[in-house]
């Protein structure tokens, strides 16, 4: 973690400022275009809803990384702030519907953010006094407290059924353009806009003195204190701002679903955002974005596709922790030197070769898991299931033997190919290293 922060920060090895600015602007314009174009490619109702959810998940995961990646604070209760912010936004939205308040719908994420901030200030003050495990444990305690309170104070949290609202209100900023936010595509563009704004704001925050001091306090609180910064204050400010952006994500969820239950602030929700940020890569600013997109996709698609989805989820997570602890972003960034010097072709070739046994291995593993679940949970196990276009009867031994054989062959070839990849990797990087010296 500390190694990357060093890689991330220094400005003197980066290209000339003007070029950097241009390239920086290019990335943001590219992101804008992607956000604009995506719903035209994936235009079904289900995908648009998923894209909207991804937008709020991105904001949520990035706000979490303000704690873990940038501030070194491992929180087990970040969903508390998105959830509470969401509930505040929900109540305000209901008040708007009743005519008691006049706030345009577009600003609901800000309302949620302020709600998250309002709770992050007291909770943050007590929990950021210490870092490390103490912080993690306090965040766990607060998360359990709030989650349990949600079931007690049914007036505010709506109990089991949650609180629902209607996002089509009389007052909107863009109402004169005929936008009502009834259709989900309009909500998507609203969420996309907020996602870009929040992401940009969080990126700018990493460049401020506060963002830099958060890194310093993460890596060496004692030295930061010697320089004259109060680590508690730095952590507290970082925590409060993270709570604000989590609230923004909560507000976006409210607009998207128009219903919020106590699940939104449960320990499971807090765990999910931790997984998102980590799988994406906490050492890089854009890491959590990748994680949020992947996990949201897995949650919405895989869960309707297979009942074993939590198993895949767990396997992916444990595999990433063990073999790619810098996350998806870490994998991407490790290839940058090779790409720059134009030596990636050799690597690409070995990856293409590896794709075949990897696919074979995955087919075997997925078959085994799916067959196992069918055998153990289905009402009629002898009823055949379709796996990769093959009708499989899981009560017959030969299908099991087949799946085991595919897995074994895939694994054997995979391990052999991995050696090739490792060799290619070393060759390319050794050549790069030689060039530098």
């Amino acid at each position: 973690m500390s190694e990357q922060s060093i890689k991330q920060t220094p400005a003197h090895i980066a290209p000339a400022p003007r070029l950097r600015l241009l390239r920086g602007a290019g990335i943001w314009i590219g992101a804008l275009i992607v956000v604009l174009v995506l719903p035209m490619i994936f235009s079904s109702g289900h995908s648009v809803s998923m894209l909207t959810q991804m937008c709020s998940a991105i904001v949520f995961a990035l706000s979490y990384n303000m704690l873990l990646g940038q501030g070194g604070m491992l929180s087990f209760g970040h969903a508390v702030f998105s959830g509470l912010g969401g509930f505040i936004a929900m109540h305000v939205l209901n008040a708007v519907n009743d005519g008691a308040l006049v706030i345009p719908l577009e600003l609901m994420p800000i309302v949620g953010g302020l709600g998250g901030l309002a709770f992050a200030i007291p909770f943050g003050w007590i929990s950021t006094k210490r870092a490390g495990v103490t912080f993690a444990m306090i965040s766990l305690g607060i998360a359990e407290l709030v989650a349990a309170s949600a079931l007690m104070f049914t007036g505010f949290f709506g109990g089991e059924s949650g609180i629902s609202s209607n996002r089509v209100v009389d007052h909107t900023l863009f109402g004169f353009l005929g936008v009502s936010y009834g259709p989900s595509i309009e909500v998507y563009y609203l969420a996309g806009a907020w996602m870009l704004i929040a992401t940009f704001a969080m990126y700018l925050l990493t460049l401020t003195p506060l963002g830099r001091m958060a890194n310093a306090v993460r890596d060496n609180p004692e030295r930061a204190q010697f320089v004259g910064y109060d680590p508690h204050l730095v952590r507290f400010l970082q925590f409060s701002l993270a709570g604000f952006f989590a609230g923004v994500a909560g507000g976006l969820t409210v607009i998207n679903y128009e219903i919020l239950t106590a699940d939104a602030l449960s320990a499971i929700a807090s765990g999910t955002v931790l997984v998102m940020a980590f799988i994406g890569g906490i050492g890089f600013f854009f890491g959590p974005i990748l994680g949020a997109i992947l996990i949201t996709y897995l949650q919405t698609s895989l869960s309707s596709f297979s009942e074993a989805w939590l198993m895949y989820f767990g396997l992916i997570f444990v595999g990433m922790v063990m073999y790619a602890p810098h996350g998806l972003a870490g994998i991407v960034m490790a290839h940058r030197p090779a790409l720059r010097s134009g030596r990636a072709g050799k690597l690409l070739l070995s990856y293409l070769v590896a794709a075949v046994p990897t696919a074979l291995l995955l087919v075997g593993l997925i078959s085994l898991i799916e067959m196992g679940y069918h055998l153990s949970t289905a009402y009629m196990p002898e009823y055949p299931i379709s796996l990769f276009g093959v009708e499989v009867n899981v009560t017959q031994l030969r299908y099991w033997l087949g799946a085991v054989a595919i897995t074994a062959v895939g694994l054997a070839v995979f391990l052999w190919v991995m050696r090739l990849i490792r060799r290619a990797w070393h060759e390319v990087n050794a050549a790069l290293g030689g060039e530098r010296t």
Binding site: T134, M137, L140, L145, L274, G314, V318, V321
Partner: protein, 316 residues
């Protein structure tokens, strides 16, 4: 009232004993390796399921021995081939690995034993009434649970403080480099401690699985509260873990037994609060409903005012 107090006391101590069985292993692992083993309660659940499966073949008594040993073997495997692998990336990676294990163990249990509770029963030998209090029978199995807990505490305490192995383990807690220099294989000690800790969790599962219910949610139900005990009692302190387990066991049990709310309190002082009052939810909240969150409240307060816990020697 006396009846209520007696039963709350007995059940509280019993619940505390169960918490201690779980937390003793966790506090060992935690203090030694700095690893917050999130999957500890999953190993407890694994112990219950193993015991159920084994007891269907050979009965309860062999299962009492075999199941914890099997869990310890699984634990040793996890430490040797998974945790040690991510050790170089720091404590956060280790913690996240155990966090991922929670999902995996949960799903493996779904896969093998399904999503319904399994029929893991108290052995017939212990299925009788030990004595009667206020006309309500006290099951012998509860006495057995209590006994196992006491034996475990005494044995663990003696091993750690009176034997050579315990001495080396304790030394590895505080001075791993020195122990290494003296020629002991510290990574292997880590593996052993992890196996011992998870084995103790497995034993708790064997004992509690049939007293409570053996079902896939039992890990989630116990997971966070075990952390509370360990942090509350103080890092690495067996006695602290015992005291904390008892306090938390008693506090939650007594809270469940008492149907008092703030409104009742004010009523006894002559102040009537109606259901329409401001924040009525809060005034009419009964103590029995707050019960489950009291441990977390204690945890947060403890960490704010005394971060090293009751008996801890250093800060977490």
């Amino acid at each position: 009232m006396l009846e209520l107090i007696t039963f709350s006391l007995i059940n509280g101590v019993l619940y505390g004993m169960l918490l201690f069985m779980l937390s003793s292993g966790l506090t060992l692992i935690f203090s030694m390796m700095g690893v917050l083993n999130f999957a500890h309660a999953s190993f407890y659940m694994l112990g219950a399921y193993f015991a159920y499966q084994i007891s269907t073949f050979v009965g309860f008594w062999p299962a009492l021995i075999i199941a914890p040993v099997l869990v310890a073997i699984v634990g040793a495997f996890v430490e040797r081939y998974m945790l040690r692998h991510v050790h170089q990336h720091g404590h956060v990676a280790e913690l996240l690995l155990t966090f991922g294990l929670v999902y995996l163990i949960d799903e493996i249990i779904h896969l093998v034993w399904g999503r319904m509770p399994v029929d893991y029963r108290i052995p017939e030998v212990l299925d009788f009434t030990l004595f009667s209090l206020f006309g309500i029978g006290f099951p012998a199995y509860r006495g057995f649970m209590f006994l196992v807990g006491v034996v475990m505490f005494v044995a663990l305490y003696l091993v750690l403080t009176r034997t050579r192995v315990g001495l080396i383990v304790q030394a590895s807690l505080s001075h791993p480099d020195m122990v290494d220099a003296l020629g002991h294989n510290v990574p292997r000690i880590f593996t052993l401690v992890f196996a011992l800790g998870t084995g103790l969790a497995g034993l708790a599962g064997v004992i509690a699985g049939n007293y409570l219910i053996t079902e896939p949610g039992m890990g989630w139900a116990m997971g966070p509260i075990v952390f509370v005990v360990v942090v509350f009692g103080g890092l690495g302190s067996l006695t602290g873990a015992l005291i904390a387990s008892m306090i938390i066991g008693l506090v939650t049990t007594f809270a469940i037994g008492l149907n008092l709310s703030l409104a009742d309190l004010f009523a006894s002082l002559g102040l009537e609060i109606t259901r329409e009052a401001f924040m009525a939810d809060l005034w009419f909240l009964e103590l029995s409903r707050i019960g489950p969150i009291l441990p977390y409240l204690l945890l947060v307060l403890m960490l704010i005012f005394r971060p090293r816990g009751l008996m801890g020697t250093r800060e977490t």
